[in-house]
């Protein structure tokens, strides 16, 4: 048994693509070895990566496939042998199979007797197979963006392949990837190790050999080193903490081969800039971690993750350089901030006329007017039920919501759209409610995000998004399949999330009506939003699909009500009685469908001639229906479902004893009328027949 190592040496691979490619290479190598019967049962595959390499080490690889025997089946025995003498057909087959005619034997199958030959297949060597198959596997790794680099464009890959190491224990496996012949020589850290070759003496020593060349090939180890170094650097500032940022940790893990961390400072005067701007500059533009004090407020320091290990002199230079860049960026931001204040948001309305929202629709000035109309309809709906909010603040916020698109700071930090508008509104004394609503208009940005905390922010968010959806549907730009260039699904998800998690007395219908959607377009938007409610319940809230189907069959308009019903239904599924009742409802549905197909009509349930069980079910239904209706009114869904579950004895007895589709039309009609009534009475919370009971 041997260890196999493959390392593909590359020019720096984009950080965002490395993890996926590392896993894929590991999978491809291990699948290939398995497929070719080269992997021992106890084999172990480990993958590694740095920005300059992808590697996989398979421990427990066979040097050669086991020999196998297989029986090749030829022509029928009668054709091959006449009077025990081999015919030309037998000779031809023996030749093809590579055996003597005398070695042919009879093979009996279900179809009859045939000529067979036992063929010995000598197992191929691992080297032979790897050389033939592995390059193809490596070159089919998926990359979000590819390039070609060799003349004649023979292959595409993420970046040029510069070296390949392929070893079976200590021996080089003679394969070639992208024109590079494999060897046993890797490369170390560009600066700390330099250009001296790094010889890998044994496959299993891969990680150790590279450590000696200032490269940590294990991703988890680098992650741990970075986290510890961040902690250690932060400890030099009393009471401070670095701001956790998993995505940024992953990025720097994939930007480094030999990570270390430095702490740098910036002038405290920049803390006067909004924290959002400071953090965006540090995190998004510079890939620095922010540091906060014991009160959670930003401290005038930053942490930079380096791809080197500098001495004191180097560390001072690097710290100084990074601080210098950060200062310049902060200075720029302050310059833009000050410049933007010269034109208050209120004076920016007119300039929105030259900012296109959508070519076929209009400018952001147009968009703002539309949003105002939607917001005022939503406001009326809230006022009619005396829901507390500030109408004045809402309208002001809607009016100014898009004006920050003309601000220099937003042009510089587009990801802070809305946030900057809110900060400006606050700085310009437009009131906290207005400022907050503008600030949070784009939240939630994803299904994991928080909804706006202010009612005005929620309403602005709803108005803006539903207007966009309806308008885009109106010009035929609804999402299709995986294509959603205007992110309308995301907008609709946010609408559903706000309705689900805020306390607004609004239904989906209210929101759609406020948009002024009409006719066919309105129906399309309704269906689209309903689909998003389904997604929200199932994928965001994690309800079982049958619960979601059952609940939504009884209505999706009131999102919070649907959630309450789904919660009650999920809990009720644990009860045996409830499951039995659900099964009965499924049966009812089936019978009613059959009856309809046969043209049987349900009639008034006059049960004088019916068996006792039918009369009993009728009585229970009448009693329970009243009770359930009351509980539903009170939204006491658990109690309602518990009540429905008590129907079990009556419904079980009914189906035990009564043949619903009685030959007598009058009896049958009455029975159908009865079960129809049962179904109607109890389907206002959920369509229980959707529940999977089997």
């Amino acid at each position: 048994m041997a260890d196999f190592l493959l390392e593909i040496g590359l020019e720096e691979v984009p950080a965002r693509m490395i993890a996926g490619a590392e896993a894929e290479l590991g999978r491809r190598v291990s699948d290939l070895l398995k497929r070719e019967r080269l992997l021992a049962p106890e084999a172990k595959t480990t993958t590694y990566s740095t920005p300059r390499r992808l590697a996989v080490l398979a421990e427990g690889v066979l040097a050669q496939q086991a020999d196998i025997e297989e029986i090749l089946t030829g022509p029928s025995w009668q054709v091959a042998f006449k009077d025990s003498e081999p015919t030309p057909a037998a000779h031809a087959f023996a030749k093809k199979a590579g055996v003597a005619v005398a070695e042919l034997k009879k093979v009996t199958t279900s179809k009859g007797e045939y000529v067979g030959a036992t063929m010995k297949r000598t197992g191929r060597t691992a080297n032979e197979i790897l050389a033939a198959e592995l390059p193809k596997e490596a070159l089919t790794i998926y990359w979000a963006k590819n390039m070609y680099w060799r003349a004649g464009k023979p292959e595409r890959f993420v970046r040029p392949v510069r070296w390949v190491v392929a070893l079976m224990d200590a021996a080089v496996v003679p394969l070639e990837i992208a024109g590079i012949a494999a060897g046993n020589v890797s490369r170390g850290h560009r600066v700390l190790h330099g250009e001296a070759p790094v010889v890998i003496d044994e496959a299993r020593n891969y990680s150790k050999s590279l450590r000696g060349a200032a490269v940590i090939v294990d991703v988890a180890e680098r992650r741990q080193i970075i986290r510890k170094a961040l902690d250690a650097a932060t400890r030099t500032v009393a009471g401070a903490r670095w701001r956790e940022d998993e995505a940024l940790v992953e990025t720097v893990v994939h930007l480094t081969e030999w990570p270390s961390v430095i702490l740098g400072d910036f002038e405290p005067e920049y803390l006067a800039l909004p924290e959002e701007v400071l953090v965006t500059v540090m995190r998004d533009h510079q890939k620095y971690f922010a540091i906060e004090d014991e009160n959670g407020k930003l401290a005038p320091h930053f942490l930079a993750v380096l791809n080197t290990q500098a001495d004191a002199e180097g560390a001072a230079i690097i710290r100084h350089g990074n601080a210098r860049v950060l200062r310049a960026r902060f200075k720029d931001a302050r310059f833009f901030w000050d410049m933007d204040q010269k034109t208050p948001l209120a004076e920016r309305m007119e300039s929105l006329k030259s900012v296109t929202f959508q070519k076929e629709l209009g400018s952001y000035y147009w968009k703002t007017e539309q949003n105002l109309a939607v917001a005022s309809a939503l406001a009326s709906a809230l006022k009619s039920v005396d829901f507390p909010f500030s109408e004045e603040a809402l309208f002001k916020a809607v009016e100014l919501a898009k004006t920050d698109l003309t601000a220099e700071l937003v042009k510089e930090f587009t990801e802070l759209q809305g946030v900057i508008g809110g900060l400006y509104a606050r700085a310009q004394g437009l009131g906290e409610r207005v400022a907050l609503a503008i600030y949070e208009q784009y939240t939630p940005g994803s299904t994991e995000g928080e909804i706006p905390v202010s009612v005005e922010g929620q309403l602005l968010g709803l108005a803006d998004r539903i207007q966009t959806i309806v308008a885009m549907f109106g010009i035929g730009s609804a999402p299709t399949g995986s294509k959603d260039p205007f992110a309308l699904r995301r907008a609709a998800n946010a609408i559903v999330k706000i309705l689900a998690e805020a306390e607004l007395p609004l239904t989906l219908g209210d929101v759609i009506n406020a948009s002024g959607a009409e006719g066919e377009n309105k129906a399309l938007v309704e269906a689209f939003l309903r689909e998003r409610v389904h997604f929200y319940l199932k994928d965001v809230r994690g309800f079982a699909y049958d619960v979601v189907n059952a609940v939504l069959a009884a209505g999706a308009d009131d999102v919070r009500d649907a959630i309450a019903r789904a919660e009650a239904l999920t809990a009720a599924r644990g009860s045996e009685d409830f499951v039995a009742v659900s099964a009965a409802f499924k049966r009812i549905k089936n019978i009613l469908r059959q009856a309809e197909e046969k043209g049987y009509q349900p009639t008034e349930p006059k049960l004088s001639q019916s068996p006792l069980e039918a009369i009993d079910l009728w009585q229970r239904t009448k009693e329970l229906a009243e009770q359930v209706a009351k509980l539903r009114e009170q939204r006491a869904y658990s109690e309602a479902l518990a009540a429905i579950a008590t129907l079990r004895p009556a419904v079980d007895a009914f189906f035990d004893k009564v043949m619903v589709l009685d030959p007598d039309a009058t009896v049958r009609g009455a029975h159908l009328g009865l079960i129809d009534r049962v179904q109607r009475s109890f389907s206002t919370i959920a369509d229980f027949s959707e529940i999977v009971t089997g």
Binding site: W149, A151, L263, D311, I318, G321, N322, V325, K331
Partner: protein, 322 residues
């Protein structure tokens, strides 16, 4: 206070702006590059110069470097912002095809400018490049030195809408940034451009260029006359179009002599297209191009630029075959 304050003082380089340029040019000259002079037509980036844009087309190997002043009218700040310029200097390098050790050569070029990599943090971070009006794109990196982007490193894949084979590596060094960083000055205008070896008297970047930044900002943002800019644009475009039409007729004409084809003035046609591109940038800085219009005007420039690229590739083919 953190340990950062106690750190030893960082020693700035004594190399001037022009020293850095000399060193880069010498370094690449010694590696077989033609050192060209800047192109004498306004461009937004060194990539747009024919020494890059047209040379990368076709199979012929080429290595060239030049320091190209690049104009971005909208980036002007009247000389008041210490980090932004209307016109900055790109040291542009084309290696066609790229040698296998192109990254190592690049690192050596940094050392040639006096950057001791042992004392710095260097990262190649993904950054792809695209010039839609030129039908050009490539993949590559921004090279980060201690958190500062000092170079754009691109493997060109397409240019003028044509696939490149072989491809080339393009290195674009941001000279003002590199100089400000190495000289450790907070404002570009404080960069020492030249130092008198006898007296030690210095001439700063501000001495050389501040007036230009101020006056061009005034012109670009305030005084450039929009209708006249459009007039110029339309006129250059019309002339380029007329030439392109003639070119395509001539190049497709089987009876035309190879000599007639080879002498057809595509290089001047390309200059006319560059003029249009610069006028577009001026109009943009004047706020004269609405978002809706933008796409249309870029499309018009693209027609010219891509048209020239295609005709040029054909003309070169003729030149090499005959």
């Amino acid at each position: 206070m953190s340990a950062a304050q106690a750190a030893p003082r960082v020693k700035p380089t004594s190399l001037t702006f022009q020293d850095l340029l000399f060193r880069l040019q010498r370094f690449w000259a010694e590696r077989g590059c033609v050192i060209q002079q800047p192109y004498d037509v306004e461009v937004g980036a060194g990539t747009m110069c024919p020494e890059t844009f047209l040379r990368v087309l076709g199979p012929k190997p080429y290595r060239v470097g030049y320091a190209q002043p690049s104009r971005r009218p909208a980036d002007g700040r009247y000389g008041e912002n210490p980090n932004r310029l209307f016109k900055h200097t790109q040291f542009q390098l084309i290696l066609k095809p790229p040698p296998v050790n192109v990254q190592e050569l690049y690192l050596e070029s940094l050392e040639a400018m006096g950057i001791d990599l042992k004392h710095h943090d260097l990262k190649f971070e993904e950054d792809n490049w695209e010039w839609p009006a030129g039908g050009a794109w490539g993949v590559g990196w921004q090279v980060m030195l201690d958190g500062l982007e000092i170079t754009q490193f691109t493997y060109f894949q397409q240019c003028g809408g044509l696939d490149l084979d072989p491809i080339c590596a393009e290195l674009t060094y941001g000279m003002e940034r590199i100089a400000a960083f190495l000289q450790d000055v907070d404002s570009i205008y404080d960069i020492v451009w030249a130092r008198d070896p006898d007296t030690g008297a210095v001439v700063t970047y501000g001495d050389v260029r501040l007036a230009e930044e101020l006056q061009f900002s005034v012109y670009n943002f305030e005084l450039a006359e929009v209708p006249r800019l459009w007039e110029h644009f339309n006129s250059f475009e019309a002339e380029a179009h007329a030439l392109l039409e003639k070119a395509s007729a001539l190049l497709a004409d089987e009876n035309a002599s190879p000599e007639a084809k080879k002498r057809f003035p595509l290089l001047p046609t390309y200059e006319l297209a560059l003029k249009c591109s610069n006028l577009f940038n001026l109009l943009d800085a004047r706020g004269a191009i609405s978002v809706t219009e933008r796409v249309g005007v870029i499309g018009r420039i693209r027609n010219l630029v891509v048209g020239v690229a295609k005709a040029w590739a054909m003309q070169q083919l003729l030149a090499s075959s005959g």
